[in-house]
């Protein structure tokens, strides 16, 4: 018999504060609804649900008519609503360290509570995540992405498939033998995923449909890239980072759907209109900032408003950067091959960029040269980087990027530290003090030239 746990409801005096950021574009405002819809549909529509890591393979789910739910997105949602802590606590109570990915901790805690109570946790936003019939992880970007779901079997007895995605080393990516080796492996891994999905869904993929979806995705990537690049280069900035941090959602979690394509077309039109008519965001754009690296602080996106009140705008963010345009040769007709080709080609392009900057990394996954590139491209006055306690994937390399920047200019770089979801790693007074000091530095540079 379980002991009922009764919490005394006390009047808690919170210093009223908005933790989310205001959105400047119509497209960004749409995203909240899209996200809510994603979760609602997973629970109500009766389609088979898959829990998926961001894998660059969303097209497969669309083509097979399965419903992908992305726990990492769900975790970010919990964080923006500041309801992630009970899930995090539950995961930590089971022995997961507080340095493990907070997306994972939220997902694990959620599943643990779900399994224990048999019900969707009370505080779960948007009706919770639908019950999956399969789970898909990949090794893209970081280790958590295949380890996390592996450990889910503690709570959810659902078949899990992990597959590999490898990026070639920058030095040798252009070589035909290397290309063949890497693309072959990525293709085999993707085929393995498809087999698994077909087995779980008890149906074979319709290749025509997949082709349609993949080509739609290719078009979507182009619009996404164009919109984002235009948003960053336009002066004044019509598309600040808080919007950008919302608008990547369709590309990551809805790629291949008609809605995603339409979304980026609309976004591009809106940005183009504003760019052409010099419509910015804040009234006086004093400083153009670059969010140089690290996932954003989902728990307190309102910090963007804080800097905007002081005349600074994050005109671009380097955490979610769209793939550049890739010309896939017509002779490649198999949709899976097209997917693999475009990922590989974009890796080569990243390598080329770094090469031009005089960098020749051994395993150029993040794109170490990105901040250096963006600083010129988007007329940046200062760079802010975000260290995350629980994300090795996007944190390691930031000091290196700062050094690369310093070697080329005297642009001020600020490091802020917190976590993407766990608000307990966030110290607002500290951030505000640092940001203010940083803006003062920028002010002094503007006045005195350095």
């Amino acid at each position: 018999m379980k002991e009922r746990v009764e919490r005394k409801l006390e009047a808690v005096q919170e210093v009223p504060k908005k933790t989310s950021a205001r959105k400047w574009t119509e497209s960004a405002k749409k995203v909240r609804g899209l996200v809510a819809n994603m979760y609602l549909r997973a629970v109500t529509e009766g389609k088979p649900v898959a829990w998926v890591m961001f894998t660059l393979a969303n097209e497969l789910f669309v083509a097979l008519d399965a419903f992908p739910v992305y726990p990492e997105n769900y975790a970010a949602l919990c964080a923006t609503k500041r309801v992630g802590e009970p899930f995090i606590d539950r995961a930590e109570a089971d022995g997961f360290s507080n340095v493990t990915c907070s997306y994972a901790r939220i997902g694990l805690g959620y599943s643990a509570i779900w399994q224990e109570t048999g019900e969707i946790p009370l505080m779960a936003p948007d009706g919770g995540m639908g019950k999956p019939i399969m789970m898909v992880g990949s090794a893209l970007v970081c280790d958590t992405r295949y380890k996390w779901f592996q450990t889910f079997s503690r709570y959810l007895d659902v078949p899990y498939y992990a597959f590999d995605i490898v990026s070639p080393p920058a030095e040798t990516a252009h070589r035909p033998d290397v290309r063949e080796q890497y693309m072959k492996y990525n293709l085999e891994q993707l085929k393995g995923l498809l087999s698994f999905m077909e087995e779980r869904l008890e149906k074979k993929v319709d290749w025509d449909k997949l082709d349609e979806v993949v080509r739609r995705g290719e078009e979507t990537y182009r619009w996404w890239f164009d919109a984002y690049m235009l948003g960053g280069s336009a002066v004044p900035c019509p598309f600040p980072a808080e919007d950008s941090f919302r608008c990547f959602v369709p590309a990551f979690f809805m790629m291949g759907e008609v809605e995603a394509l339409e979304f980026y077309k609309d976004l591009y039109q809106e940005i183009k209109y504003k760019a052409d008519n010099k419509i910015g965001s804040i009234p006086e754009e004093k400083y153009r900032l670059l969010w140089g690296g690290g996932l954003p602080p989902w728990h307190t996106m309102g910090i963007m408003d804080y800097v905007e009140e002081r005349g600074a705008v994050f005109v671009f963010q380097a955490a979610y950067v769209p793939m550049p345009h890739v010309d896939i040769p017509d002779r490649i007709t198999n949709p899976l091959e097209r997917m693999v080709y475009s990922r590989y080609a974009s890796a080569i392009m990243r390598a080329e960029i770094d090469k031009k900057l005089g960098l020749f990394g051994a395993c150029n996954v993040i794109g170490h040269g990105n901040p250096v590139l963006f600083v010129d491209q988007f007329k940046i006055d200062g760079v802010v980087m975000h260290w995350l306690r629980s994300c090795r994937g996007t944190t390691i390399g930031q000091v290196y990027q700062k050094r690369l920047l310093e070697e080329r200019s005297d642009l001020p770089v600020l490091f802020l530290e917190s976590d993407m979801c766990d608000v307990r790693d966030y110290f607002e007074e500290d951030w505000k003090m640092k940001l203010n000091a940083f803006l003062e530095t920028l002010e002094a540079r503007k006045k005195g030239g350095g």
């Binding site: 009922r4 746990v5 009764e6 919490r7 005096q13 210093v15 606590d89 007074e429």
Partner: protein, 278 residues
């Protein structure tokens, strides 16, 4: 026969002397200059009951400074000793939570034996140190804080888990004009929350007993009960459970030896100061 337990914590030194029950106990501060003087505290305890040192059959030392007791026959960790001590006071205990001056522990207990434990000895938040720092910031005496916090009707949320940042937060809240008792309630909630999160890793079972210096703070105890969802037990003198357990273990070891006819290993000891601090 008499048995002694010496518990040298990072903040307080406790000595207990017992035969069938506790007959003498001393609690004194463990300053750096006192650490080598566990013998002094022992002398005070002996004087209280008027028995000479060599009538003590067995001495067990525990706590952070247990190696600094040259006259101890055995050194046992405070985890094992607390479990024993708490169990002797509350036989229904399954989970002990000890919140000391500089560390905090959770211990799972079955029949007085440890079955699992967790410790925080790295971070000040969630220990007595947290309250000490805040007492200074707020200009209060430590023993005022608990009662005063209970007067709050509108707890101020202190969200920082780090003592240093919590301090800054408190100062900001004072500047905002928040009431003292409301800030205190928030602080007590913060420390309880930290402790709760740590102990949660153990699968908490009732009855839960809270010990250590911070157990004297009713505000923290109440906040902890709020997180647990049920009431906890607190010994009359929450600082002594370690020393009691240590003495009990000494008694057990001696009795076992007597029953089996085996000689028990004790040290040839003199009641003197630890020599390695000169």
């Amino acid at each position: 026969m008499y048995f002694a337990g010496v518990d040298i914590g990072s903040t307080m030194t406790k000595v207990v002397i017992m035969d069938e029950e506790v007959i003498s106990s001393i609690i004194g501060p463990t300053g750096p200059e006192h650490r080598r003087l566990a013998n002094r505290v022992m002398e005070d305890a002996l004087r209280q009951i008027g028995i000479p040192f060599d009538e003590i059959a067995y001495v067990v030392a525990t706590g952070y400074g247990r190696i600094n007791v040259p006259f101890a026959d055995k050194q046992i960790t405070e985890i094992t000793c607390h479990a024993k001590g708490v169990n002797s006071l509350f036989p229904t205990v399954r989970t002990a939570i000890d919140i000391g001056g500089q560390d905090a522990k959770g211990i799972k207990i079955v029949n007085g034996k440890v079955t699992g434990f967790i410790m925080n000895d790295k971070c000040a938040a969630g220990t007595g140190r947290f309250l000490e720092v805040m007492a200074e910031v707020l200009g209060l005496e430590l023993d005022q804080m608990g009662e005063l916090s209970m007067k709050s009707r509108n707890k101020v949320k202190i969200s920082s888990t780090c003592t240093v940042f919590a301090e800054q937060e408190v100062i900001s809240r004072i500047a905002d004009g928040a009431l003292l008792e409301d800030i205190l309630a928030g602080l007590h909630d913060a420390i309880a929350s930290r402790v709760y999160r740590m102990v949660q890793r153990l699968k908490i079972e009732r009855d839960v007993v809270v010990t250590g210096g911070v157990a004297k703070n009713t505000g923290v105890v109440k906040a902890l009960e709020n997180y647990l969802g049920f009431p906890v037990l607190v010994p009359e003198e929450p600082l002594l459970t370690g020393a009691i357990g240590a003495a009990l273990i000494g008694r057990e070891l001696t009795q076992k030896a007597l029953e089996s006819g085996q000689p028990i290993e004790t040290k040839v000891r003199r009641l003197e100061a630890a020599t390695f601090f000169k």
